[in-house]
């Protein structure tokens, strides 16, 4: 497998004395969909923020396409193809859907109209709402918009933080279908998800984080079938 992202011994947190990640080792292979699961407070979302550059590492390192990225600011990581879709506050609420997509494609402005048209064709709901402020969208619609914004730059690595959080079962199902379709087109995805069974159903591999450390990494279907993993992390 070609390693796209290599995370080794990462320690990070939100304050000087605060360590959420206590030594994470993880690799994301090109073209795969990696599900990152684990109990609340394990550091899953923190790990994605560290990869996107929103947190500084206290120790350890990250290499993207073989190059160290751990000292780069978020915008430089974005330029290299890392796109994070946050769980909350993932759109610009007072800007229209169209303007959100435009800002989503900020780092590659050539051909931006064509890319917006392509995404509006792919997500007809966004086309209908393109002149509406993002704050008027429902939770599911905002998640779709947030993902579409990330797709505006055709990312090499798409990081999804709890994409189904707060969505109705129907909206979550539709969202997982969209994620599976994006992955099928060749986009590498690392997805943190509380809804672990659904995440494992569409993932190639999975990593289990426990207390800021990598506890298990393996084939998603194998982990989903493992009775110990099911008992400890998947609700039986």
């Amino acid at each position: 497998m070609t390693v796209l992202l290599d995370i080794s011994g990462v320690v990070a947190g939100y304050g000087a004395a605060d360590e959420i990640l206590k030594g994470v080792d993880l690799q994301v292979a090109e073209g795969e969909l990696l599900a990152i699961i684990g109990p609340n407070g394990a550091g899953k979302s923190t790990l994605l923020k560290a990869v996107a550059g929103l947190l500084r590492l206290k120790s350890g390192g990250m290499r993207f396409e073989g190059e160290a990225i751990d000292t780069l600011p978020p915008r430089e990581r974005a330029r290299r193809g890392v796109a994070l879709v946050l769980q909350e506050a993932n759109v610009f609420p007072t800007m229209t859907v169209w303007e959100n997509l435009e800002i989503g494609g900020f780092i590659e402005r050539r051909g931006i109209r064509g890319r917006i048209d392509g995404l509006l064709a792919r997500f007809p709901m966004l086309a209908e709402k393109r002149r509406h402020a993002a704050r008027t969208l429902s939770g599911g619609q905002r998640q779709i918009l947030a993902m579409a914004m990330a797709l505006m730059v055709q990312p090499k690595l798409l990081l999804l933080d709890e994409p189904s959080a707060g969505l109705s079962p129907k909206a979550a199902e539709a969202l997982f279908d969209s994620i599976a379709a994006i992955h099928a087109e060749g986009t590498t995805i690392a997805m943190v998800e509380q809804n672990a069974l659904e995440a494992l159903a569409i993932a190639d591999r999975a990593a289990v984080l426990v207390d800021g450390r990598t506890a298990l990494v393996g084939d998603a279907k194998t982990l989903a079938a493992d009775p110990n993993v099911r008992r400890m992390f998947l609700g039986g």
Binding site: P74, L86, P93, T94, M95, E99, I103
Partner: protein, 293 residues
């Protein structure tokens, strides 16, 4: 009595239109950089003096002098932010606000050192007030220069609206004001946006300073006199909201004029203090708060 109230209303609207321009500048900085930039006072003064120089010393017409006031104050705003305020921002908004107040005093005294304390006037023709008859209710007196200043304010507000809505720079500023973390994730350079926001906001302060100078005269305290009503207008409308700043400016303008019905005119500045107290007590997010730019 009706005529008197209408006169006060007209005066308040004209004063509010002038106040709106620097208030928009103040709220723009707050929306993008999250601190109240009291150095706006110094920049308004610099704009007023740049306008006087352009108009009186170089003979530029008022329109061109207003542009000079905008550009000079905007450039000084970028320089002062880069050299002073940017270094204070990591220490928090309170530290930066105090630093900005100190910077405003420094700028005011640099102007005082160069130009002295004597008031300066613009080279513009003195026009007689327009009189509008209201029949039995009396009549209105409207100063043409105040109307011109209000018209200039409205034009600059329309240009700013177009800038924020239809240009890439404007949309970047709105994105950072809306959600700075997400803006960084989308590749927007916060430093570049800060420079543009400072140029626009302090340019507006300079433009507003010259408008006020056109209405009265220009002295080193022209900015210091306006900073309280500007702050009150921004707080009243909701810090960070441009429509809020405009609404707040008109309300403060009208409120200051209305206060003269019951108070000595020298107490009119108390309206700003009262507005700030009431808003922070009853509705801290202001009239149109939580709406970035």
């Amino acid at each position: 009595m009706i005529g008197e109230v209408l006169q006060i209303l007209v005066n308040g609207l004209l004063a509010g239109a002038q106040l709106a321009v620097p208030a928009i500048g103040f709220t723009t900085i707050y929306a993008v950089l999250r601190f109240p930039n009291f150095a706006l006072a110094g920049h308004a003064t610099i704009g007023a003096y740049a306008g006087v120089l352009a108009n009186v010393a170089w003979g530029w017409p008022v329109g061109a002098a207003l542009l000079a006031a905008f550009v000079v104050a905007g450039l000084v705003g970028v320089a002062s932010d880069t050299l002073v305020l940017k270094r204070l921002r990591p220490s928090g908004s309170l530290t930066t606000a105090i630093g900005a107040a100190a910077l405003g005093i420094v700028l005011e005294n640099i102007i005082r050192f160069i130009f002295g304390n004597d008031p300066l006037g613009f080279d513009v023709p003195v026009l007689r007030d327009w009189r509008v008859s209201l029949g039995t209710a009396g009549g209105l007196r409207i100063g043409p220069q105040q109307v011109q200043a209000a018209a200039a304010s409205i034009i600059v507000m329309a240009v700013l609206f177009a800038f924020l809505s239809f240009t890439s720079s404007g949309r970047m500023m709105r994105a950072v004001a809306d959600n700075p973390t997400l803006a960084a994730l989308k590749g927007i350079d916060a430093d570049s946006v800060a420079r543009r926001a400072n140029f626009v906001a302090m340019g507006l302060a300079g433009f507003g300073g010259m408008l006020i100078g056109l209405d009265t005269s220009v002295d080193p305290l022209v900015g210091a006199r306006v900073v309280l009503p500007v702050f009150a207008a921004a707080v009243l409308g909701g810090l960070g909201s441009i429509p809020g700043a405009v609404a707040g400016a008109f309300l403060i303008g009208i409120g200051e004029e209305m206060s003269t019905l019951v108070l000595d005119p020298s107490y009119r500045t108390a309206v700003g203090f009262v507005a700030i107290l009431l808003v922070l007590t009853l509705r801290p997010r202001g009239l149109l708060g939580e709406r970035a730019l």
